[in-house]
Amino acid sequence: MPSRKRRRPRLIGVAMAAIAVVSAVSVGAVIGRSQAARPSTAQPDLPNLNGIWQALNEANFDLEPHPARAAMSLRQDQPYNVTTNIPSPPVVALGAVGSVPGGIGVVDGGSIPYRPEALVKKRDNQKNWLERDPEIKCYLPGVPRATYMPYPFQIVQSPTSMMFLYEYAGAVRTISFKDPGPPPVDSWMGQSVGRWEGQTLVIDVTGFNDQTWFDRAGNFHSDKLHVTERYTRLTNEHLMYEAIIEDPEVFTRPWKITMPLYRRMEKNASLVEFRCVEFVEELLYGQLRKKPLAN
C-alpha cells in the first residue's frame, strides 16, 4: 500500500491534464443542464457533488443476495423439528417491523470471496448479531457501510476541501487531496485520500481498525482493509457508487459492490442530529443502574 500511495501524486497530474481536455465538452453536455439550477461550488472543471445523498437498497441488511426473512436474528432451536422462520426472543416484539426485506444484492458476482476460516467467522457473527453488530451499539460505521445505511449523508465540496458528513452517529470524513503519508493510527472511519480520475472521484481509504462491519449480516474485515471508492455523477440527482474491497486476511481476492445513490430532493432537505450514543445507554449500561428498570 505505501508504494501505491507514493504513485498517486503523479496520477493526479495525469488525471488533471485529461480533465482539462475532456471535461468542457463531455461533462457540459451531460450535466450542464441540471447543474445550472445549483450554485457551482466545486472547481469549475470538476463535477459538483455537493448535496445530501442516500442509498435506496437492502445492502445494510445484507450485501449478498438474500430472501426476506422474519428478523436479522432468528431462533436457533427448531421447534417441531421443522425449519422455522421465528425471530429470536429479544426481537419478537418488533413483529413485521423487525423483519428483513429481500434484496438482489450489491456484490459483483453475487457472493463475497471469503477465506474458509473467515467464512466460519462471518456465519458466527450472523448468529450472534445482537451481541456483535457495531450498529446496534451506535459505534462509528466505517466505510463503505456509512454510505448505504438508512440515513442520508452530505457532501460538502469546495475547491480546496471535501467533507462527508453522515447523519448516523454524526460520523465525519475529511477527504485529503494531498498525500498525508501513512495513516498515523487505526480508526473507525479510516484515512481518506481522494483524487479525480476523469469525472470520477476516487477515494482510497486505509488505516481502519478491525471493529466495523459491512452490514447486519455479519460481513466483516480485518485491520488490513483497503477500500477504493468511486463516485461518478450520472445526473444532477444520481451518483453511481462503487467500492472495491481488499483484505487479504479475510478475502481470497478483491471484490466490488455497486449501487446508485440518490439526491434527497425535499425542499430544505437537511441532516438532523442522530446522537444515538444516548439511545443505547440502557442497552449498554442498564444493568449497572442502582435500580435496574422494570421490563
Binding site: 451506535c138 475529511t174 450514543v277 444516548e278 449500561y285
Partner: protein, 354 residues
C-alpha cells in the same frame, strides 16, 4: 487547582485517539500582540484576508479554540479590561502553577497539551482579562429567579452525583457532547478541558461546515437563507443559519434541546444555565467569525435568553490556525469510563450494606 472528582472523571473517559502535539508546530507562527491592550490582533490593520472564488474571506483550515484568557474576569479587576504584557505573563504563570501535574499510569499523556498551553512560546499573548466583553465587568450576568431554581435542580456537582444511572452523569462522561462544543464555543475550564479543542472549517458559497474534533461533531450551516428547522426538532448543538455581513460570517443558532440534562457543574450557576440547556426554548446564540490575521480567527458571540439571564451577554477570543490534521475522536466506542463509574458505585453500595 483541579478538583479531584472532576479530574478522575476526565481521566476515566475512554479516548481512542488523543494527541495534541501538532499544535506546537504552528502556534509559534502567529503574529505578536500589540502593546495597546485588548485583543492581541488588531482588526484595523491594512491586512486583507485571502478570499474564496466567490470573494468571501476564506476560513478554510484548522483552528484551535484555545486561549489563555479566562471566560470571566477576576472580580478584583473590576472594569480593567486589559493586562499589561508583564501582568499577562504573570497571570499565565500563576495559572500554570495551580494546575495538578500528570499522574502516572493513565492511558494518555496530558502533559503534551498542558505543556503547550503553559509555554509562552506556543500560546499567543492575549492581553484581555476576560473572554466576556459585555457586561462590562467581564462577568456573566445573574440568573432570573426561575432560572436559578431550574439550574440548581438540574446540575449536580460531580462529587455529589450518586451515579445511579447514566443519565445523571455529565454529557461529557457519556460521550454525548464535550463542554467546549457550544455554541457558543467557550474554552472554559482550563486547558485540561480544552484538549483537542480544534475545529476544521470547510466553506462553499451556500454552506459552512464547522467540524469539531470533539466529539467528531459537524455543524453544517446553510448560508442560503432557508428557514430554521421546524420547532419540534431540537438538537444538542441547536440549528444554525449563517449569512455574511461584509467580511464577517454571522451565525444564528436556535432549536436547542429543551430536555433536562447535566452537562457539567461549574463554579458558576450562570454558566451552568448554558451548559444544562434544557427548558431554554428561548435560547438564541449569535456567533460572528472574522479573519483577524492570516493565522487568527476572531470569534465573537452573544447569548440571549430572557427566561434565563437578566441580560444578554457577549464575549470574544481568537482562534489560532494550526497545521492539523484533526484526529478521529471515537468516544463512546472506547468509553470504559462511564461503566466504571457506575460499577464502582454499585460495588461501594454493596460493600456498605451490613
Amino acid at each position: 487547582m483541579l478538583n479531584k472528582p472532576r479530574r478522575s472523571a476526565l481521566l476515566l473517559i475512554g479516548v481512542v485517539v488523543v494527541t495534541a502535539y501538532h499544535l506546537a508546530s504552528v502556534f509559534g507562527q502567529v503574529s505578536t500582540p500589540s502593546s495597546k491592550g485588548g485583543s492581541s490582533v488588531n482588526a484595523a490593520t491594512s491586512w486583507t484576508p485571502p478570499r474564496t472564488a466567490d470573494a468571501k474571506p476564506d476560513f478554510h483550515g484548522i483552528w484551535a479554540k484555545t486561549t489563555p484568557v479566562p471566560l470571566e474576569r477576576a472580580a478584583e479587576l473590576g472594569l480593567k479590561a486589559s493586562f499589561t504584557e508583564a501582568e499577562a505573563r504573570e497571570f499565565s504563570k500563576q495559572r500554570a502553577a495551580r494546575r495538578v501535574k500528570q499522574i502516572e499510569g493513565v492511558h494518555y499523556d496530558d502533559t503534551i497539551w498542558l505543556a503547550i498551553a503553559d509555554d509562552p512560546a506556543n500560546v499567543p499573548v492575549d492581553l484581555r482579562t476576560s473572554i466576556i466583553t459585555d457586561p462590562p465587568n467581564g462577568r456573566l450576568p445573574s440568573l432570573t429567579p426561575d432560572a436559578q431554581k431550574r439550574v440548581m435542580e438540574r446540575s449536580i456537582p460531580l462529587s455529589a452525583m450518586p451515579a445511579e444511572g447514566p443519565e445523571v452523569r455529565t454529557a461529557l462522561e457519556r460521550c454525548i457532547m464535550w463542554v467546549h462544543q457550544g455554541p457558543p464555543m467557550l474554552p472554559t475550564g482550563g486547558p485540561e478541558l480544552n484538549y483537542n479543542a480544534n475545529i476544521e472549517i470547510v466553506q462553499t458559497p451556500d454552506t459552512i461546515v464547522l467540524h469539531q474534533e470533539l466529539i467528531h461533531d459537524a455543524r453544517v450551516i446553510p448560508l442560503d437563507g432557508r428557514p430554521h428547522l421546524p420547532p419540534q426538532i431540537r438538537q444538542w448543538l441547536g440549528d444554525s443559519r449563517g449569512h455574511w455581513e461584509g467580511d464577517t460570517l454571522v451565525v444564528e443558532t436556535t432549536n436547542f434541546i429543551d430536555r433536562v440534562y447535566n452537562i457539567r457543574r461549574t463554579a458558576s450557576p450562570s454558566l451552568d444555565a448554558l451548559h444544562t440547556r434544557g427548558a431554554d426554548s428561548k435560547l438564541r446564540v449569535i456567533e460572528r467569525f472574522t479573519l483577524a490575521a492570516a493565522n487568527a480567527l476572531r470569534y465573537q458571540f452573544t447569548v440571549e435568553d430572557p427566561t434565563t439571564w437578566t441580560q444578554p451577554w457577549s464575549g470574544e477570543y481568537l482562534m489560532w490556525r494550526i497545521a492539523g490534521p484533526l484526529y478521529e475522536y471515537a468516544c463512546s466506542e472506547g468509553n470504559y469510563g462511564l461503566p466504571n463509574i457506575l460499577s464502582i458505585e454499585r460495588h461501594r453500595e454493596r460493600a456498605e450494606k451490613p
